[in-house]
C-alpha cells in the first residue's frame, strides 16, 4: 500500500510540473463544453431562402409573407429567371428556393391544385430535410387557410368532416435544443479522454525514457505499478467531471436532475474500460506519438461514433448496432443523459449499469494480464 502511495505521490509531483496537464484537466473540459454546447448544434434556425416569382400576384406575395413571417425562413432575395436561380444555388447562397409559376393565383381561384416548386440544396442532408419539412408545413397551413376562407365565403360554418390535431408536449427538453443532448455527453467524452489517452501516454512515457525499467528492477509488484499509475488518473478524471457538471450548470443552466451518486458510481465502473484500454495501448506501442495515434484514431473515434454520442445507434446498419453493444460508452451515455436530463436512476438503467460493469471488468482484466506478462 505504501509503495502504491509513493507512485501516486510521484505522479502528482510530475503533474505539478507539467503545465500541459493542467490545460488538459482544467481548461480543455470547459472549452469542449463551450464549443460543443454552442457550436455543435443540429438545430436549424435560419433557412436562407430565394424566391422566383413568375406570377406576380397577390396570392404569390401572400405566400412569400407566410414564409418570411415564420421564424425559420429568411428571404434573402428574389431572382428573375432559372439561370439566376442556378447561380444562387451553386454559390451556396440559398438553402431553399421557391419557384412560383405564372397562373398560380388563377389556379387557386378556379379551384384547381396550384403547383409550386421548391428547390433544396441537399448537400447537408439533415438541414435540408428539416427545411423541407418546415416548408411543407407552412404550405399546407396556407392551403388550409385558403380552403377555410372559401368555405366561409360560401356560408359553410361547419366543416364537412372532423380534423385531427396532435397536441405535442416535449418532455425533458421542451425547447428541443440539441445542446441538451450534446452537453451531458461531454461528461462521458472527457472522462474517456483523460482516463484513456492520458493513462496510455503516462505509461508509454515511462517506457520511452527508461524509468519503467528502473522501477521494474525494484522489488515492486506489477499490481502496485498498475494501481499507482492508474489511481491518479481516476482522481483527475473525477475532478474534471465535477468541473464539467459545474460549468454545465453555470454556462447552460443544465442541472443534474437525478442522483449524482449513481452518476459517479457508474462513472467509476465506466473508467474500468477506459483505464483498461489505456493500459492495453501502452503495451502495444513504443512511444508517446504512437500511443496518441492509436488512442485517438484506433480507439477513441470508433468508440465515440458508435456510442451514440452524436449519431443515434438505432439508425445505424445492423452490423454496427451489434458492435455498439460492446461499447461501454454507449451505456454510460445512456446513464449520463438519463440522470442529467430525465432525473432517472438505478432502476431505469439496470441493463446499462450491468453492461458497464461486465465490459469494464473484462477489459481491465485482459489488459492487466497482458501488462503483467509484458513486465515479466
Amino acid at each position: 500500500m505504501r509503495t502504491i502511495l509513493e507512485i501516486i505521490k510521484k505522479e502528482f509531483a510530475q503533474f505539478k510540473r507539467d503545465p500541459k496537464m493542467f490545460g488538459v484537466i482544467l481548461v480543455a473540459p470547459v472549452m469542449q463544453l463551450i464549443f460543443l454546447g454552442f457550436a455543435a448544434t443540429l438545430d436549424v434556425k435560419v433557412i436562407k431562402t430565394y424566391i422566383l416569382d413568375n406570377d406576380h400576384s397577390d396570392r404569390s406575395a401572400e405566400l412569400v409573407r407566410e414564409f418570411s413571417s415564420s421564424q425559420y425562413f429568411r428571404i434573402d432575395g428574389y431572382v428573375s429567371d432559372y439561370d439566376e436561380l442556378t447561380k444562387v444555388m451553386d454559390g451556396g447562397n440559398a438553402l431553399i428556393a421557391f419557384v412560383i409559376p405564372s397562373g398560380f393565383e388563377k389556379d387557386i381561384e378556379s379551384g384547381k391544385t396550384a403547383e409550386l416548386q421548391a428547390i433544396i440544396n441537399g448537400s447537408d442532408g439533415n438541414t435540408s430535410s428539416i427545411a423541407s419539412g418546415y416548408a411543407a408545413s407552412i404550405i399546407s397551413s396556407y392551403s388550409n387557410k385558403i380552403m377555410l376562407n372559401k368555405l366561409e365565403l360560401r356560408g359553410v360554418k361547419q366543416l364537412p368532416a372532423g380534423r385531427i390535431t396532435a397536441d405535442t408536449r416535449v418532455w425533458y427538453n421542451p425547447m428541443l435544443l440539441s445542446r441538451y443532448f450534446m452537453v451531458p455527453g461531454i461528461v462521458g467524452l472527457l472522462l474517456t479522454v483523460i482516463t484513456l489517452i492520458l493513462t496510455s501516454l503516462a505509461i508509454v512515457k515511462e517506457k520511452e525514457i527508461g524509468t519503467l525499467e528502473q522501477i521494474i528492477v525494484t522489488p515492486i509488484k506489477p499490481y502496485q505499478i498498475i494501481a499507482g499509475k492508474l489511481i491518479p488518473f481516476v482522481i483527475m478524471g473525477f475532478i474534471s467531471v465535477v468541473i464539467v457538471i459545474t460549468a454545465m450548470r453555470v454556462i447552460f443552466g443544465i442541472e443534474v436532475r437525478g442522483s449524482l451518486i449513481f452518476l459517479f458510481i457508474s462513472a467509476f465502473f465506466y473508467i474500468f474500460t477506459t483505464l483498461g484500454l489505456g493500459l492495453l495501448i501502452s503495451t502495444i506501442t513504443k512511444n508517446q506519438q504512437q500511443a496518441m495515434m492509436v488512442a485517438m484514431f484506433g480507439v477513441m473515434m470508433p468508440m465515440v461514433f458508435l456510442s451514440g454520442f452524436n449519431f443515434q445507434v438505432e439508425n445505424m446498419p445492423e452490423a454496427f448496432r451489434y458492435i455498439s453493444d460492446f461499447i461501454s460508452l454507449k451505456y454510460f451515455l445512456n446513464i449520463i443523459r438519463g440522470v442529467i436530463l430525465k432525473g432517472s436512476g438505478f432502476t431505469d438503467h439496470i441493463h446499462d449499469f450491468i453492461m458497464i460493469i461486465v465490459l469494464g471488468t473484462l477489459i481491465l482484466a485482459i489488459s492487466i494480464l497482458r501488462f503483467n506478462k509484458r513486465l515479466e
Binding site: 509513493e6 507512485i7 510521484k10 528502473q214 528492477v217
Partner: protein, 308 residues
C-alpha cells in the same frame, strides 16, 4: 564466495541469438568488467541478471537466487543503473531520492541517512530542490548511482555508466565505484573505455554473444598475446598501415594516435630487424620504433580481429 554465477546463459530473440551459452562467476566485492562491442550482448546479459528478461535457456544465481525461479528475491539484493539516465528529469533531486527510497521500502531515519549519503557523493548538498533534468551529466550519473544503491544492495549492475561523461567526471565516478567495492558491494560494470577496464579486478570479453576471453588484466595481456608489439612512428603512417596489413610477418596492425601498433609473428624479435624489413619492402621511412607492453586495447583488437 561468489555473488554471481552464470551457467550457460542464453537469450534468443526469434532466430537471432543475442547471448550464447555464457558462463562466468563473479566474486563478492570485486569490480567485474564486462566488455564487448555494441550489440555484442552486454545489455541483454545484464537485463537477464537483473530479472528484466527471462533467459531462453541456462540460468544464473545472483546473490544466491536463481534468476529463473526466484526473480522476485533477486530484485531485493541488486541495484541497477541502466545505460540511459533513468531518474525522473521532471522531479527534483530530493523527490527522486525519496521516490526510489520509498519503492525500496525505506522511510523515516533510514531514508534520511541514505538521502544524506547520496547528496554527499553527488555533491548535491543544499540542492535537493533542483530539478534533476537541469543537472550536468556527471552529477546526474553520480546521483543515479547513489539512487541505484539506496537500499545497500549486495550487487550493483552498471550498464555503461560513464558513456557520454567527461574524463574528469569519469575519474571521480570510478573512485565512487572503488569505494562501493571496498565496502563489500559487488560491482558488475560494462564499459566501452578500455582504460576503465584496467580498474576492474576481473574482466570478461564477449563478441557476438559468445564469451571469448576472461581473466584479470595482467593475465589477459600475457595469455592472449605471446608475440611482440611494436610502436612505430613515421611520416607516412597511413600508407604504412595499408601496406603492413598485407605482410606475412604482421599479425595485426592498428592506429593509435600519431603512431601505429604492430603485432608481429614469432619470427621477429628485434626492433631493428622489423625496421629494416618494413623500410625495404614499403619504401616508407620510419622515424621511431620500440617494443611496448601490450595494452588491453591491443589484446581486444587482437582477439576480435583474430576471429575474423
Amino acid at each position: 564466495m561468489n555473488s554471481i554465477v552464470a551457467d550457460n546463459l542464453t537469450k534468443k530473440f526469434g532466430s537471432f541469438t543475442s547471448v550464447d551459452s555464457v558462463s562466468f562467476s563473479v566474486k563478492q566485492g570485486e569490480i567485474f568488467g564486462f566488455l564487448g562491442a555494441n550489440g555484442a550482448g552486454k545489455s541483454t546479459t545484464i537485463k537477464m541478471l537483473c530479472g528484466l528478461l527471462e533467459p531462453t535457456s541456462g540460468d544464473a544465481a545472483v546473490g544466491g537466487y536463481s534468476i529463473k525461479k526466484e526473480a522476485d528475491k533477486v530484485k531485493t539484493v541488486i541495484g541497477y543503473m541502466s545505460q540511459r539516465f533513468s531518474l525522473y528529469n521532471d522531479l527534483t533531486v530530493g523527490e527522486n531520492i525519496n521516490f526510489f527510497g520509498g519503492v525500496y521500502g525505506l522511510y523515516g531515519n533510514s531514508l534520511k541517512e541514505r538521502r544524506e549519503w547520496i547528496l554527499d557523493i553527488a555533491n548535491l548538498r543544499g540542492k535537493e530542490n533542483t530539478l534533476t533534468g537541469s543537472l550536468p551529466g556527471g552529477v546526474k550519473q553520480r546521483l543515479a548511482l547513489g539512487t541505484a544503491v539506496i537500499h545497500r544492495p549486495e550487487i550493483v549492475f552498471l550498464d555503461e555508466p560513464t558513456s557520454g561523461v567527461d574524463p574528469v567526471s569519469r575519474r571521480s565516478f570510478w573512485e565512487l565505484i572503488h569505494s562501493l567495492s571496498e565496502e563489500g558491494t559487488t560491482v558488475f560494470v560494462t564499459t566501452h573505455y578500455l582504460e576503465e577496464a584496467e580498474f576492474c579486478s576481473n574482466i570478461i570479453l564477449i563478441d557476438a554473444g559468445r564469451l571469448i576471453a576472461e581473466g584479470n588484466s595482467k593475465f589477459l595481456k600475457s595469455n592472449y598475446i605471446t608475440n611482440k608489439i611494436f610502436e612505430i612512428r613515421s611520416p607516412g603512417l597511413i600508407e604504412l598501415l595499408d601496406s603492413a596489413k598485407k605482410l606475412p610477418f604482421v599479425e595485426d596492425v592498428s592506429i593509435f594516435g600519431n603512431s601505429i601498433h604492430l603485432m608481429v609473428t614469432s619470427e621477429i624479435e628485434e626492433a631493428d630487424d622489423l625496421k629494416n624489413r618494413l623500410e625495404s619492402i614499403t619504401g616508407i621511412k620510419l622515424t621511431g620504433i620500440e617494443v611496448i607492453p601490450p595494452s588491453l586495447e591491443d589484446v581486444f583488437i587482437h582477439l576480435l580481429e583474430g576471429k575474423k
